[in-house]
Amino acid sequence: MLTLQCPYCGVDAEETELHAEGEAHLKRFGPGSSDDEFETYLFMRENPKGVHFERWRHSNGCGKFFHAARSTTTLEVFGTYSAQTYEPPQDIKDKISAKYPGWSWRDFS
């Protein structure tokens, strides 16, 4: 059972306090977008073995959504960060690079 530190209230929350909210950094496409763009937004998801970026919510806690970067294989957590950003912070990316040189995930690397 995972523990993730909520970046808003600082609690090292175990999974029973959290709710998984799917993939991180999705870009919304609304009316006016092409079928391909919209399909990508709605359905196309990463399924990596290794580095992954996710959304979580501290649902039995402060209620805030946040981002987490972790490895799907070792469950190592590289960091959690604000939901109000379009990409992972540099220090987390650096931490991942130290462990997985040459990693990439969607447009991030």
Binding site: C9, T16, C62
Partner: protein
């Protein structure tokens, strides 16, 4: 108002610690920018307490103020004072972007008292309740068994737990199992 009753009307249970429903309490949800001057001033004006630090509770002459999230506070006061606190808050906020609403009736409050109070909670909440981990005026939102709840510590052997009114009976029953005679753990 004269007809107002709390969920369990002050039911209590005595095990290795005492669990009791406290009766109606005033509670106000305040959402806003906690670092902004209007919110800080409004909190002091309406409660006498400062905006608390993260996961802490600050005490005031009219009400106590708990940190719920980066943009939310919970004001705890006398049940009859709640509407007036909201009025004072709204007046002091003076149009700043914020939301203040009386939620007193949406809640139930329990007090857990006695030497084993920490252990009663530690059986049902995934929280470090050791003396190093939890101190008076610490405030924590978490779950009690299967429902969302929050609690804070008044003194070393007294906690107060707040949950939604609809699950008051559930939380009370769970705390009763937790506080049952012979269930002392001797760890905390």
């Amino acid at each position: 108002m004269s007809n107002a009753v709390s969920a369990l009307e002050k039911t209590s249970f005595e095990g290795f610690a005492k669990v009791s429903e406290t009766g109606l309490r005033g509670m106000i949800t305040l959402r806003g920018d906690l670092s902004s001057k209007p919110v800080k001033d409004a909190v002091i004006a309406s409660t006498g307490a400062e905006v608390p630090d993260v996961r802490r509770m600050s005490r005031g002459s009219i009400g106590d103020v708990a940190w719920m999230s980066p943009d939310e506070l919970l004001i705890v006061c006398d049940y009859r004072a709640a509407n007036e606190v909201v009025t004072t808050l709204l007046a002091a906020l003076d149009g700043a972007h914020a939301l203040a609403v009386n939620v007193s009736d949406a809640r139930a409050v329990f007090r857990i008292e006695g030497d084993g109070a920490r252990e009663v909670l530690a059986k049902v909440a995934p929280v470090d309740l050791s003396t190093e981990g939890f101190q008076p005026d610490d405030f924590r939102r978490t779950r009690i068994a299967q429902v969302a709840a929050a609690f804070w510590m008044n003194s070393d052997d007294s906690f107060e737990v707040v949950c939604f009114r609809s699950v008051a009976q559930y939380v009370f029953d769970v705390l009763k199992v937790s506080a049952q005679e012979g269930g002392e753990v001797g760890f905390l």
